[in-house]
């Protein structure tokens, strides 16, 4: 397997705060890679750096062989990386269908004048995109809610709609920021099924998650961050037994169990 994403010693500094420090890892093509770490470890910051929402202070990010550092977020989305957000960020006063149609924005071609005059080509494109959006909603079990405003959807479905929107532009790498947060056990099982299914469809998935059963159950590889630094990287089993990881989660001394304070 070849890496689809290579993060090469990126650093992100907010004033005096070193949110991400000299972190590097790779995401293999067609894999499910998870990033874990205690709160404030810099996981979301790393995501924001990859998707271009934050400019990196130092380091390089290579996607499919070329650097994407410095590209604006929409260019990175067009390159083939889309994401969901930890706190759901749907367009709340747009319908589910429109949310997914926005996802296709960067693939659409019609311009200002074509849209103003409603030229045949623009109408054709609109119809096609709407059809694809409805199909996408169907595959995610949201068909019934096509016309419902995003804000009126139940929480679990909002999470799913966000994934549908991220998939609409046909990405090759999907970043999920805590996709299971706030889901009930049944929804979590459904989510795991959905993630595996997407991977089977050829998509590479990179996710941040706190739910260890989910992470250990589906990931091929786990990257662990703590205080902005990478402390472990490897197969789920290795990471689970890594001493630094246990210390990061349970505090120093947990492994030596009171022998030395």
């Amino acid at each position: 397997m070849s890496p689809i994403l290579e993060v090469r010693s990126i650093t992100k500094r907010f004033g005096g705060l070193l949110a991400v420090h000299d972190v590097d890892f790779t995401v293999e093509q067609g894999s499910i890679t998870a990033m874990i770490g205690p709160n404030g470890a810099g996981k979301t910051t790393a995501f924001n750096c990859v998707t271009g929402l934050y400019p990196v202070t130092a380091g390089d990010i290579v996607f499919e062989g070329h650097s994407i550092v410095g590209l604006p977020p929409h260019r990175i989305a067009r390159e083939g990386i889309t994401r969901t957000f930890q706190n759901i960020r749907l367009f709340s006063f747009m319908t589910a269908t429109d949310n997914v149609m926005v996802g296709e924005h960067c693939r659409m071609k019609s311009g200002v004048f074509g849209s103003m005059l409603r030229l045949p080509r623009q109408r054709h494109e609109e119809r096609e995109v709407e059809g694809r959006a409805v199909n996408a909603l169907r595959t995610l079990g949201l068909e019934r809610f096509a016309d419902v405003y995003a804000r009126n959807l139940p929480y679990g479905l909002q999470r799913r709609l966000e994934i549908a929107r991220a998939l609409a532009s046909g990405p090759r790498l999907l970043l999920l920021d805590e996709p299971a947060a706030g889901l009930n056990p049944q929804e979590k099982v459904e989510l795991m099924g959905l993630i595996s299914r997407m991977r089977e469809g050829g998509l590479t998935i990179f996710l941040i998650e706190h739910d260890m059963r989910l992470v250990m159950g589906i990931s091929d590889r786990v990257v662990v961050l703590d205080h902005g630094e990478k402390i472990a990287d490897g197969a789920p089993v290795d990471v689970r037994n890594n001493q630094r990881v246990i210390e990061a989660y349970l505090g120093a001394g947990a492994t030596t169990a009171g022998v030395s304070a």
């Binding site: 004033g15 998707t51 271009g52 929402l53 934050y54 400019p55 604006p72 977020p73 929409h74 989305a77 067009r78 889309t82 994401r83 957000f85 960020r89 749907l90 367009f91 709340s92 006063f93 747009m94 319908t95 429109d98 926005v102 996802g103 924005h105 960067c106 693939r107 659409m108 019609s110 200002v112 849209s115 103003m116 005059l117 409603r118 623009q122 494109e125 609109e126 595959t139 995610l140 079990g141 949201l142 019934r144 016309d147 419902v148 405003y149 804000r151 009126n152 139940p154 929480y155 679990g156 479905l157 799913r160 929107r165 991220a166 532009s169 049944q186 459904e190 099924g193 959905l194 299914r197």
Partner: protein
């Protein structure tokens, strides 16, 4: 997702705190139905106003300008015996049915009682019958007076104005009732059609020369403000960028067109070419002035645009590059001509041209709203970070909003200068920006029809109602015997009246006359803290 995945029923959804007690539509279809309903109501109200005004107008004109008072009532005596009487009764019955129908509609909606469709059909037929009868009486009077009907059209007598207004009221009511579903589905298109059809007749309502001039002048000003409202709505309503300096682009359009049509450059370019240049220049400035504001949102953006609104008229005042003529502005602007016919000073030709332009703009913007770009604007308004991460180029999309908004303003400006023959810096003061914003907010942010309605309403209040307040109140005072009504100096109170009208409209309809489907408005929502600019500002 595999088939058969159980999705929780909708009833279980948690209510958002802001949702409790707020009556918001659940689906887009519901919202569209509500919007269509609102458009329908506006047509019903407009139709009723025209109907009643049509009956009152002759009485009014007679008192104010010694015109020949003539109303449908008078047709009994002047039209050929028999037929005329019958027709007047038909009109009367149709009017009563319409008014009763409209009132019962209001009550039915108020008490949540549905109305059977059959009744609406009946009322549509009645209204049409009334309109046809009114038209017949008008023809009969023409025949009776042995005047050529079509010669008559050009020299409307006040009587015809009255009947025309009755007729318009009937037709609007009939259309609104008969095509209720279509109105609900395509409010913008319907509005544009009715607007063009009946708006075109405004300069011929009054037979009285002076009254016509005044009304047409007011209608022309209303048309300019309607265009401004439509353009500003793209920036504020669609893209959610609060712009307090919109008059700057109005000025740029007016100055560009004005200097090209004035003798100062010795150019002899037809006005219809100049218009496109003015639009392009205004659009360019829209993008140029929009660029520095890209990282700003909400209040901060508004302050910067406020600055532009001050810079442009001041630059013009200071005779920038010796091109703007200083405080005197640009004078001697040629009036446009078409096929050798010069518009001259007659306001009605400008008004008609503007009306046509407005309809085109409404249709174009309505299409734009339902396109890729329209969705992108809403997405940016709702959540800029998500929009960027989803693949929307926020920079170009925002600049396009500024440019498209400014281009319409430039269009309005070129007509404005061409009509007056002169543009001066004080035509583009802050008050113009504020009035434009008022019209958009009052009309309903994010809705084309709403913005246009707001533009018409506010400018008619400013340019027609307020200047006539004294005259009208004197007349009413004389008629009703309460002469003290006429002795008040109303000019002292115009702004109080204006303010009271605005306040009462906003109290009655908080979202504007015709709020857009998604009522979440940049002005009301405090999402600035989440903006991309704020995030990047930390760096």
């Amino acid at each position: 997702m595999p088939d058969g995945v159980a999705t929780p029923p909708l009833e279980e959804r948690p209510l958002a705190p802001e949702e409790v007690g707020v009556d918001l539509p659940f689906t887009a279809a519901e919202a569209a139905a509500e919007e269509g309903q609102a458009v329908f109501w506006i047509f019903v109200v407009a139709g009723l106003v025209f109907l009643v005004a049509g009956w009152l107008l002759p009485w009014f004109v007679e008192l104010t300008s010694n015109g020949v008072g003539f109303s449908p009532q008078d047709a009994v005596s002047s039209a050929p015996t028999g037929i005329g009487t019958v027709l007047v009764y038909v009109i009367g019955v149709a009017m009563v049915a319409n008014i009763a129908g409209a009132i019962s509609d209001v009550l039915a909606v108020h008490w949540h009682i549905g109305r059977p469709w059959r009744m609406e059909r009946t009322r549509a037929v009645l209204a049409l019958a009334g309109a046809i009868s009114a038209f017949s009486i008008w023809v009969l009077i023409g025949v009776y007076r042995e005047e050529d009907l079509f010669g008559h059209l050009s020299a409307f007598a006040s009587a015809d104005g009255a009947i025309w207004m009755t007729l318009t009221g009937m037709l609007v009511l009939a259309l609104a009732h008969g095509f209720r579903e279509q109105v609900a589905r395509h409010p913008d298109q319907f509005f544009a059609g009715v607007f063009l059809l009946f708006g075109a007749l405004v300069p011929v309502i009054f037979g009285n020369q002076q009254a016509t001039e005044v009304l047409t002048w007011a209608a022309g000003a209303a048309a300019v403000y309607t265009l401004l409202a439509l353009g500003l709505n793209v920036v504020v309503g669609f893209a959610g960028l609060l712009d307090l300096g919109y008059a700057a682009f109005f000025a740029i359009g007016a100055y560009t067109a004005g200097s090209m049509a004035s003798p100062r450059h010795g150019l002899h370019i037809p006005f219809w070419v100049i218009v496109f240049v003015a639009v392009a220049v205004a659009a360019l400035f829209g993008a140029v002035l929009g660029a520095p504001t890209l990282r700003l949102r909400g209040d901060y953006l508004a302050i910067v645009t406020l600055g532009f609104g001050e810079i442009i008229p001041n630059a013009a005042q200071n005779n920038l590059f010796s091109q703007t003529g200083g405080p005197n502005g640009i004078t001697g602007i040629r009036h446009p001509d078409i096929f050798g016919f010069n518009f001259g000073q007659n306001p009605r030709y400008y008004y008609w041209s503007l009306l046509f332009v407005i309809v085109l703009v409404i249709l174009a913007f309505s299409n734009l709203q339902r396109s890729r770009l329209g969705r992108a604007w809403v997405a940016i308004r709702e959540d800029e970070i998500a929009a960027a991460a989803t693949g929307i180029n926020t920079v170009s999309t925002k600049l396009l909003a500024f440019a498209i908004g400014a281009s319409v303003s430039g269009l309005a400006g070129s007509f404005y200068g061409a009509q007056l023959g002169v543009v001066t810096p004080e035509d583009f003061e802050f008050a113009v920006s504020v009035t434009a914003l008022t019209t958009v907010v009052l009309g309903g942010l994010g809705s084309n029809t709403g913005a246009a309605l707001g533009g018409i309403l506010v400018s008619f209040i400013i340019f027609w109602v307020l200047p006539h307040l004294q005259e009208w109140m004197t007349t009413v005072g004389q008629t009703t015997g309460i002469t003290s009504l006429g002795t008040i100096n109303y000019s002292t109170y115009t702004y109080i009246v204006y303010g009271l009208i605005l306040i009462s409209i906003m109290l009655l309809r908080p979202g504007g006359l015709l709020p857009s489907k998604a009522r979440k408005v940049e002005l009301q929502a405090g999402h600035e803290s989440e903006s991309l600019a704020a995030v990047q500002g930390v760096v």
